[in-house]
């Protein structure tokens, strides 16, 4: 191995800095060694960040703030084992700082070292008795290590000073439930839900208690709330942890966040998260893949194409890059190119449901209906419940006058009930009408009409009314 200057920088070994600190008023304590951190595989941004923090500590090894800052940097990058050593050093060097004790507790907790985490949070609260996040951590970690009565007391102590803290009520509910006190647990969860009605997991917990106490309907109601608010938790301020978040450069987290933002319809924010991820790590092909779709949906095909080129320059075998690009091309009516992109997708991932579905559409438009039907079926086999594929298959079958089969496919599109349901119901009604089953057709036209009206889909309502008039006219003749 060539031990170049870079390599020496990469392997940050601070063993020489292990010094004994003998200034404690109670007992002399040795400073733990700084961790040896192999940074060679880190992204440049993370490496720079860590190496800069390490260099600062090397210059002033007994500076608590610098040791703590290195701990925070490592903590921000999920390096909990290394961060633990740094926080220990910082705390030993500056016993009056509640922050180092708190951060130490947090990283211990992240590693499942609950007993020492409890000690660290206890120390935090000795130094800063009013720091609510430490109180909550302490209560939770007491429960995690099985000290349920102590945890209960800790939560009750919090609630004496913070009577409107939904998080504490939820935590207390968990402890009470684990202790077998389901009645009080239910009251505690209930209070959490009153304080924060969108508290998904508290609803989930309540559903469990309602179910076990023979109240399935109540349980069902809470499960509905849970599913609506799975990710929602009460707002929570933790200024110390916010400092860690500011240091976070993990692009994977940005990618994960971008997916959540996209799923909740926040397309522009999702786009920004992907761009930020790329600014940290330009190798992130997945960010380019996401951006193809996001820019396409924002009506910026040029940028979408740029990201397609960038993605396949990193890795030509990214199935989703070809797929997203195919969708973009299809929307631009470049059907032949789109088909090529979908075929390329399937070379890489023969089970890609979206590619099979869209290839089916392209084939159908070329008049190759039998092949299109085959593609729709493969799409469904690989993603059962794939509404769009069921719809296209139903439509293709109806065009072949295979109405019984078409009706089965359209029926598969009726759930879940959302803004698309009226359109699918309408398609089912048409299939019934064409098959000659007027009563069923009428029933589904009426259903589609109600659904579309309720959602304010005026164009669809007009189409349905037109179809109903046509059907009535046919009957009259």
């Amino acid at each position: 191995m060539n031990w170049s200057v870079g390599k020496w920088r990469a392997v940050v070994s601070c063993l020489a800095m292990a010094v004994v600190l003998a200034t404690s008023c109670t007992k002399p304590q040795a400073l733990p060694d700084l961790p040896s951190i192999e940074t060679a595989t880190f992204t440049p941004a993370v490496r720079r960040q860590v190496e800069s923090a390490v260099a600062a500590v090397r210059a002033k090894p007994r500076d608590a703030a610098l040791n703590g800052r290195l701990g925070m940097t490592l903590h921000a990058n999920s390096q909990f084992v290394s961060a633990e050593s740094c926080y220990r050093r910082a705390h030993l060097l500056e016993r009056s700082s509640s922050a180092w004790a708190y951060y130490l507790g947090v990283v211990l907790s992240e590693q499942g070292k609950y007993q020492p985490a409890v000690t660290a949070f206890t120390e935090t609260l000795r130094l800063r008795p009013d720091y609510l996040p430490a109180e909550l951590h302490l209560a939770r970690d007491l429960a995690s290590q099985g000290q349920l009565p102590e945890s209960r007391k800790a939560y009750e102590r919090i609630l004496r000073n913070h009577a409107d803290d939904a998080t504490a009520y939820y935590g207390l509910g968990r402890v009470l439930a684990a202790s077998g006190d389901t009645e009080d647990a239910a009251k505690s969860y209930q209070r959490a839900c009153e304080l924060f009605p969108a508290y998904g997991v508290a609803h989930y917990a309540l559903a469990g208690l309602d179910r076990s106490s023979g109240k399935p309907q109540e349980a069902q109601k809470h499960l509905v709330e849970y599913q609506r608010h799975m990710q929602d938790v009460p707002p929570f301020e933790d200024p110390l942890l916010s400092e860690i978040r500011k240091l976070r450069t993990d692009p994977q987290e940005l990618l994960a966040r971008s997916i959540e933002l996209d799923q909740s319809g926040k397309v522009e924010q999702a786009l920004a998260a992907n761009e930020e991820a790329l600014s940290i790590d330009p190798r992130l092909a997945q960010a380019h893949v996401n951006l193809i779709s996001l820019y396409a949906r924002l009506g910026q095909p040029g940028k979408a194409e740029d990201h397609y080129r960038a993605a396949i320059a990193i890795d030509p075998n990214l199935a989703d890059a070809h797929y997203n690009y195919g969708v973009l091309l299809f929307s631009q009516a470049k059907r032949s190119d789109a088909k090529t992109a979908f075929l390329r997708t399937l070379e890489i991932n023969p089970n890609h449901p979206g590619a099979h579905n869209n290839l089916g559409l392209a084939l159908e438009q070329e008049g190759r209906v039998a092949e299109a039907i085959q593609q729709y079926r493969i799409a469904i086999e690989n993603r059962p419940g794939y509404r769009l594929a069921h719809y296209h298959l139903g439509r293709a079958l109806a065009n072949l006058r295979r109405y019984d089969e078409a009706i089965q496919e359209f029926k598969s599109t009726l759930t879940p009930e959302d803004q698309n349901t009226p359109t699918y119901t309408y398609a089912l009604a048409i299939a019934y009408a064409r098959s000659g089953d007027s009563p069923a057709a009428n029933r589904y036209f009426q259903k589609a009409h109600q659904e579309a009206s309720a959602l304010g889909q005026s164009n669809l309502v007009a189409s349905i009314e037109n179809a109903l008039r046509t059907m009535a006219g046919s009957r009259a003749r």
């Binding site: 705390h91 202790s179 089970n351």
Partner: protein
């Protein structure tokens, strides 16, 4: 108060580790690792070439089965291969390790000595693919157990010819699935007397579309399942005559799916029909309740079995069902990812569950580990089901970064202390439990026929391990093999109860599934504590018929045939 705070500060400052609490070494360790000395020389090969293909880290399973019906358990092990032929191997194939899966015959009977002989070539079961899982079951009721092998690629059904050889009958039987299959189980879901087959699929990963994934500091690492999409499972109905029909859509089991890794078949709601529980990796788990008409309904959400007690989906891998609280119903344990802790779902007898991991002190015990193979088993024959967990990370462990294979973690032995919850007794188990490897599959059974349960563990990119239980048989026990006549020959799915005066009835079931990618001993084992008195036994056959046997002597194995018991207790 001041004294308490000072004391606390001392603990904080003096540091800590996450090493297990030291336990006094017993005179004889509970388990002894004897693979090599008994001829079980097998090294798993992952074929890695630096591409970080996901199958390389997901491991392979192992089966315990008596393929030659000689009365002792033989061992079948799955093997990997390289997915990048021509690439430079990160870990070269071990010298002397043949390619493909291996079958080891146990020579305990007739030699009296525990020793294994590799009979793969003679038996014709050395399939060379990227092996994942194995399910065992006598699907044609001919009295010889058959093998179903799942792969990253095509699956294989080996029919046991009854003469020490097997035949690949996959095509004729119609049970292939070319996708990435993981765990599988044989079950008689329609109660027609023959075994059907449920096969889990994982992700739509293909080597051509391998994605580059990175750890939190940016190093190349194995992807999480979120990088790909889950693939639906398959249910094959046994039509007899060696033919199966894919009834996945008709049975409704495509209505919900995720990246499936673990599956267990048992009657969870006590209605006498076999249900299925599926552990998904990073997605809600699925409870398929049998609707008795050939279809299943996923009731996991309403039954409290989809998520942990905090309402979150976890990275479900291995799963096992067993009556750990001796209340007569099948409880579940699901092993999850590092920093998630396991889920322990206590069944109220109606197929409704509550996660009690926190209460049983199992959440904290398992929090630092990524768990795969798992089994409820009574290692000390005290009548309570304990736990063994096979662990090993799937992404680079911070503390091992820079090491050649930074995924090793120790396995766990957890003792059931009843109301006191579970305690980690790994420290008492001897050097076998001190090993840090990348364990995946685990199969459970009485390999040396001495009345306690032994464990065979498959390690990813590591050696097969045989953990011989040296302590359990100090207490009383009973082992039972069932022979179905109207029901499936192995009576998979039957429930057995040892009726004890003044003590809770012990319920166990006949199964080979549970754990991760593995198959266990179908014989039913009961630990009976200090009582060596003969016991009464109740059998509820898979078809619903109940029979009783009285005064079965303990400390021995019994074979019980359907139709030869009494119709009632007295």
């Amino acid at each position: 108060m001041r004294g308490i705070l000072l004391s606390a500060a001392f603990v904080l400052l003096s540091g800590c580790t996450h090493d297990r609490t030291p336990s006094p070494e017993p005179a004889t360790p509970l388990f002894r690792e004897v693979a090599s000395e008994t001829g079980l020389n097998f090294q798993h090969f992952i074929g890695a070439t630096g591409e970080f293909y996901m199958p390389e880290i997901m491991g392979a399973g192992v089966a315990l089965l008596d393929y030659d019906n000689d009365g002792d358990l033989d061992i079948y092990v799955l093997q990997g291969t390289t997915l990048n032929p021509g690439g430079k191997l990160t870990f070269p194939k071990p010298a002397g390790q043949p390619s493909g899966n291996r079958l080891f015959r146990n020579d305990l009977i007739p030699t009296g000595k525990l020793h294994f002989t590799d009979v793969t070539d003679t038996a014709g079961v050395g399939y060379s693919g990227y092996g994942m899982g194995v399910a065992t079951g006598d699907y044609d009721n001919d009295g010889f157990v058959d093998l179903y092998i799942t792969n990253f690629g095509h699956n294989v059904l080996f029919h046991n010819n009854g003469n020490g050889t097997f035949t690949d009958v996959t095509r004729a039987a119609g049970v292939d699935d070319p996708r990435w299959s993981t765990s599988a189980t044989f079950l008689d879901y329609d109660r027609d007397g023959d075994l059907d087959l449920f096969v889990l699929n994982y992700l739509d990963f293909h080597t051509a579309g391998n994605k580059k994934c990175y750890g939190p500091t940016g190093e190349l690492d194995y992807c999480s399942p979120r990088a790909y999409s889950g693939v639906p499972s398959k249910l094959f109905r046994n039509d007899g005559g060696g033919r199966f029909t894919d009834v996945s859509v008709k049975a409704g089991i495509t209505a919900a799916y995720g990246p499936g890794l673990g599956v267990v078949a048992a009657d969870f709601n006590g209605d006498g029909w076999i249900d299925l529980y599926v552990a998904n990796d990073g997605a809600p788990n699925i409870l398929w309740l049998n609707r008795k008409d050939g279809t299943f309904e996923n009731t996991a959400l309403m039954a409290g079995a989809a998520y942990d007690d905090d309402g979150s989906p976890k990275a479900g891998m291995g799963v096992a069902a067993g009556d750990f609280d001796n209340n007569g119903s099948e409880d579940l344990i699901v092993l999850n990812l590092l920093r998630e802790g396991c889920s322990v779902l206590r069944n109220n007898g109606k197929g409704e569950f509550q996660d009690v991991a926190l209460r049983l002190k199992l959440g904290s015990a398992t929090f630092p580990y990524t768990g795969f193979g798992v089994g409820w088993f009574d290692y000390d024959n005290d009548g309570r089901l304990d736990l063994f967990l096979a662990n090993g990370a799937v992404t680079v462990l911070e503390q091992l970064r820079g090491k050649p294979y930074p995924f090793q973690q120790p396995n766990l032995l957890l003792r059931n202390g009843g109301e006191d919850g579970f305690s980690d007794v790994s420290g008492l188990a001897g050097p076998a439990l001190a090993l840090k490897e990348v364990s995946r599959g685990a199969a459970f059974g009485d390999i040396d026929n001495d009345g306690d349960i032994d464990i065979v563990v498959s390690n990813n990119n590591g050696p097969l391990r045989l953990l011989l239980n040296d302590g359990g048989s100090r207490q009383a026990w009973l082992e039972v093999s069932l022979r179905g006549t109207r029901d499936n020959r192995q009576a998979l799915g039957a429930r057995l109860a040892v009726l004890r005066e003044g003590k809770p009835t012990l319920w166990r079931r006949v199964h080979t599934d549970s754990s991760y990618l593995s198959a266990s001993d179908p014989r039913v084992h009961f630990g009976l504590g200090s009582s060596t008195k003969a016991v009464d036994l109740m059998v509820v056959w898979p078809g619903g018929q109940t029979e009783y046997w009285q005064k079965l002597s303990t400390g021995t194995q019994h074979t019980i045939q359907q139709g030869q018991g009494r119709p009632n207790a007295k």
